[in-house]
């Protein structure tokens, strides 16, 4: 059994000067090396939850254990900042946070804040650039002179350079075209394969179906489902309640089943497995 990367117990959170809880009574476990998708409508508490995991805000009640660090209402600010040594957070539209004169300096910002040596910093910058597939020659360029897609990669490299054990991404593919989206997801999956725990907030059910091992669905500050993608997509009532869409492959399968097609697996998570199912059903029909 894999060790847990994040455990959350009876967590409550309320923003200052507000009356209703942004998160109420959250308990969950994320295992090491898992690829977790967090889904739910805008305002359901997804961003608050990941901010708590990254120690950017403190819980009001309850306990978190993030990569071995304990966080609760009484945790001091300097202990909270230790979380950033182990957790990386790629915000939505991260290219909007670039600031340095050169790509190199911007990527080095995180490692420098963590107090690494010059040698470590240099190596981490080079590694990060390589990981996101940008040429090392770009180091001396201004980040503001790059194309939109390249800026996004530099911003992500800035987080990867901190070599996080847990990587949080909030809608990392928002605004990218299909090709850039696929490349980025491939990169995230590679990191995941190399032992990084990935927590990705997303609205794209295709991405959940294709990449996630574990999905957490939220609504109005509560966890509504904490399960596998296959299980989530088979529960159409719950999906409707969460107002989530189906991945296209599951959508087609359910449409066919509604029209009396006999498919064995009604939740094919990829188009590939859907094609297999359809071919199987066609063959068995021919044999009748």
């Amino acid at each position: 059994m894999a060790k847990s990367a994040v455990t959350i117990k009876d967590l409550h959170y309320k923003y200052p000067n507000t009356t209703s809880e942004a998160l109420s009574d959250i308990s969950l476990t994320i295992k090491e090396q898992e690829f977790v998708a967090i889904v739910g409508q805008t305002g359901s508490g997804k961003s608050t939850l990941v901010s708590l995991i990254d120690g950017l805000i403190k819980p009001e009640k309850g306990d978190l254990n993030v990569a071995g660090l304990k966080i609760n209402a009484t945790t001091k600010a300097e202990d909270l900042s230790k979380v950033h040594h182990r957790v990386g957070f790629v915000f939505q539209f991260p290219e909007q946070q670039l600031f340095a004169e050169t790509v190199e300096e911007d990527i080095a910002f995180g490692p420098r804040n963590l107090g690494w040596t010059a040698g470590q910093i240099k190596k981490s910058v080079d590694d990060a650039l390589k990981m996101v597939g940008l040429p090392v020659a770009l180091k001396t360029h201004s980040p503001f002179a790059l194309s939109g897609g390249q800026m996004r990669r530099v911003a992500i490299a800035g987080v990867l350079a901190m070599k996080p054990q847990i990587l949080i991404l909030d809608e990392p593919t928002a605004g990218l075209d299909t090709q850039a989206t696929n490349e980025l997801l491939k990169l995230i999956k590679q990191l995941n394969n190399k032992a990084t725990t990935v927590i990705m907030v997303t609205h794209q059910m295709e991405q959940v179906a294709r990449y996630a091992d574990h999905v957490i669905a939220m609504s109005e500050g509560k966890v509504i489902a904490d399960t596998t993608p296959r299980h989530l997509f088979s529960d159409s009532q719950q999906l409707a309640k969460l107002s989530l869409t189906l991945p296209i492959s599951v959508d087609i399968a359910q449409f066919l089943r509604k029209h009396d097609a006999k498919l064995e697996n009604t939740e094919p998570l990829t188009l590939d497995s859907l094609a297999d199912e359809i071919v199987k059903a066609m063959r068995s029909k021919e044999n009748e």
């Binding site: 605004g175 087609i252 498919l263 359809i278």
Partner: protein, 275 residues
Amino acid sequence: MTQIKIRNLTFKYPDSKSLVLDNINLDIKASSWTAIIGHNGSGKSTLARLIDGLLMPTSGLIEVDGMKVDENTLGIIHQQIGFVFQNPENQFVGATVADDVAFGLENRQISRLEMEDRINSALAMVGMTKYKNVEPINLSGGQKQRVALAGVLALMPKVIILDEATSMLDPRARQEILTLLKKLKKEYNLSIISITHDLNEIELADKIVVINDAKIAKQGSPAEILGDKELLLKIGVGIPASQQLQSLLVERGVTIPQKYLSLEELKNWLSQQLQ
């Protein structure tokens, strides 16, 4: 009937050598839905801005309803062509929803009395009536884009240009806006030009124009363009799910009658086969 006529259109920025658009010739019919697709930086956004007179061509001609787009006709062009931009936040001028819809009317010097009616009906068209006095900070991205659309509709345009107008929205809001556009187009006989790389949005068009390296690489019906996998991959748009499934089935030895089926057509064909 041709509504927008583009002839030998070339554009480059004054301080640059390379052409953003190179000898573009294009006709857009009245009450049609045209999708313009291409790589980031292919010039598709520039083309949209040129049609609306927000940029002036280096050479060549653009006509909207027989009227040449130039400095003297800008007022009329801006009224006849409504433009919805990508970022919901950065096109919201007014302090409240009503003020924002009013902005274009104020510029056209519509009287206060008429304004109220036009604002009310435009908000009703996009389903935002009950948000009339709400401030932008309390609206979602999708709601802001509806307001942007209302601001455009209040001017009673003939053409609406959407410059990646749904790309910053979540899938649900995006779908809602597309459904709304479909309805509005039909009810008010609008032409729609959408610059996009969202496949769902592309599939709504009756004509697709592919721009690559400053030139029109191909134009045609959805079947002609969306069936051309090589081209789609080259411009980074990706292949529609229906096409992907179709080729996966063909690989597995299934014979499908037509080369291109839309998602709906494919679903129906499959359900007939499996019934």
